[in-house]
């Protein structure tokens, strides 16, 4: 155990929150505070740092229990607004995945496909209070004789609705360029030929896992802001890979840690869960997420103070290298540079384009800050930590990260 000058516990911080005395700042505000006061003093004065992100996160979806029908059905095929939902669970449990397109979507047959409506949109429609048309088919059993159900469901009317996202909140992500000679349409947005633009997709110094690079506070059981309501980190996300190369400051130089999160969909808001259509790629869900970081000691203060100029994204060619899974990286670029609007690649100046909304990420961090200040949101102490950089149990996923 390191010897710290400041030693706070979750319980102490929560007591302060309950009394409305906790000092809470955002991950952007803390940078200057640590610079002015030093790490120890900042750790002493500040209790919680709030982070935020607002990005398309494809590995998202919702578990819905639509309630038993009369006569009962053991649904084996289910569509919500004509978007297939996975029904290979018990009778009326289904999982609607964010990237599932409408049943008869032309996909990329007319290239680039528009993907107008999909699972992400179904989820947003539900949280917006809209009725969603459900069709369920079954083969019929002695105990579940019904073979077909068709009805409108609403979020209020269903028995349970849980947002359950297997992989969210990537710790760092690629900066995408396209070195080929034609425009390509990717999950990293439109990429013009000959490196016409460079797209990036994290909120940098405000992003949750950039502020806790070794997962010292974010773990299983951490209470978070998810889609406008309270959610939880329930496990390391799929492809969580803490063993990725790190810079001298300890921050991963490419996509590394991820989070599996869940929360009660019934309490969420369409402002922080947005169904999206990514041209030529597919449907997805843009998720607003914020994670509070307790200022337990000066070491935590050290990491939350790392700023955009020290956070580096790998530059990857989506024209050739990414689809061929070569794993080649063209270079590194700082988030300060990416947010400035221009970057340099081999002497060529390229406009940079964010895909992740910094405006909404700030709104999330601010809202979470207000909840904590008002005593409405207490910190959850992890019941178990995420696999950290020292112990790696990861199956390699080739040289691809998504």
């Amino acid at each position: 155990m390191a010897n710290y000058q400041v030693n706070k516990t979750y319980q102490e911080i929560n007591e302060k929150i309950k009394k409305g005395q906790a000092v809470v700042v955002t991950a952007e505000e803390i940078i200057d505070i640590v610079r002015r006061k030093g790490e120890a003093e900042a750790a002493r004065t500040v209790d919680v740092v709030t982070t935020g992100t607002f990005s398309p996160m494809c590995s998202s979806g919702a578990i819905i229990n639509f309630g038993h029908t009369k006569p009962p059905i053991k649904a084996s095929k289910v569509w919500l607004n004509n978007v297939p939902a996975y029904a290979g669970l018990a009778a009326v449990d289904v999982y609607i995945g964010a990237t599932e397109p409408t049943e008869d979507d032309p996909l990329n047959k007319v290239y680039p496909g528009e993907f107008k409506y999909g699972g992400g949109h179904v989820i947003q429609d539900l949280v917006a209070g809209k009725a969603v048309h459900l069709v369920a088919e079954a083969y019929g059993t002695d105990c579940y004789p019904n073979k077909r159900v068709e009805k409108d469901i609403t979020l209020k009317g269903v028995v349970n609705a849980v947002l359950f996202n297997p992989r969210n909140c990537y710790q760092n992500y690629n900066c995408a360029v396209n070195l080929s000679n034609r425009t390509i349409y990717t999950y990293m947005g439109p990429l013009r030929p000959r490196a016409g633009n460079a797209n990036f997709c994290t909120s940098g110094q405000l992003s949750p896992l950039f502020n806790d690079p070794y997962y010292r506070t974010i773990g299983i059981g951490t209470r978070i802001f998810l889609g406008g309501a309270v959610g939880y980190v329930c496990f390391p996300g799929t492809q969580h890979n803490p063993g990725k190369p790190r810079g001298e400051n300890g921050v991963p130089l490419g996509p590394a840690g991820t989070l599996m999160v869940l929360g009660d969909l019934k309490k969420m808001s369409p402002r922080y869960l947005v169904g999206v259509s990514l041209l030529g790629y597919g449907c997805s869900l843009t998720v607003g997420m914020g994670i509070p970081i307790p200022m337990l000691n000066e070491d935590i203060a050290h990491y939350v103070a790392i700023s955009d100029d020290q956070l580096l994204a790998p530059i990857v060619d989506y024209g050739h290298d990414y689809p061929a899974a070569t794993g080649r990286i063209l270079g590194q670029v700082s988030y300060a540079q990416l947010k400035s609007g221009k970057m340099n690649l081999d002497g060529q100046e390229i406009p940079t384009v964010p895909l992740s909304s910094l405006v909404r990420a700030r709104e999330v961090a601010q809202l979470l800050k207000e909840w904590i200040e008002k005593g409405q949101f207490l910190l959850g102490e992890p019941v178990d930590m995420l696999p950290g950089s020292e112990e790696v149990h990861c199956v390699r996923t080739g040289s691809r990260d998504s």
Partner: protein
């Protein structure tokens, strides 16, 4: 996907033919009817938005003209639906006029309608589909 607002004039000879039906069926085009009228001289007028794959769109227009329909284009106007836009910035990758641009350090995505050339490149690229083509009624 390509969309345009069109004014179609049908002469007496063609007014009773299933032209719009063929347009949908043979060219897979979608239409959104805004106005349809037949005047006392039995001539028809239709204002509609026609959309589809650019190739189908061109073939559809050719078919209309060959069938004796007079086709006039109405200038569209691109607007941002502020309720849908979540300020990501994706659209700035394609906007050629700089109408969509980012203001720093706020990172707010601004839409300056005065600079917009109505090229519609941003429309399919916006993940939230917040950039909408509106009929410019004053041009009708």
């Amino acid at each position: 996907m390509h969309a345009e607002m069109l004014v179609l004039q049908f002469s007496r000879e063609v007014v009773d033919q299933p032209i719009i039906y063929r347009l949908v069926k043979d060219f897979s085009l979608e239409f959104n009817l805004l106005k349809a009228a037949i005047n006392p001289r039995q001539e028809g007028l239709i204002v509609m938005e026609l959309r589809g794959h650019p190739k189908d769109f061109r073939r559809g227009l050719k078919y209309l003209r060959e069938s004796g329909v007079k086709v006039k284009k109405v200038a569209g106007e691109v607007r941002r639906n502020e309720d849908l836009c979540y300020q990501c910035g994706t659209c700035t990758a394609v906007c050629p006029s700089g109408a969509l641009h980012i203001e720093r350090p706020d990172m707010a995505v601004v839409f300056d309608a005065a600079r917009c050339s109505a090229c519609e490149l941003c429309c399919p690229v916006c993940p939230a589909r917040a950039m909408e083509v509106k009929l410019n009624r004053s041009a009708l």
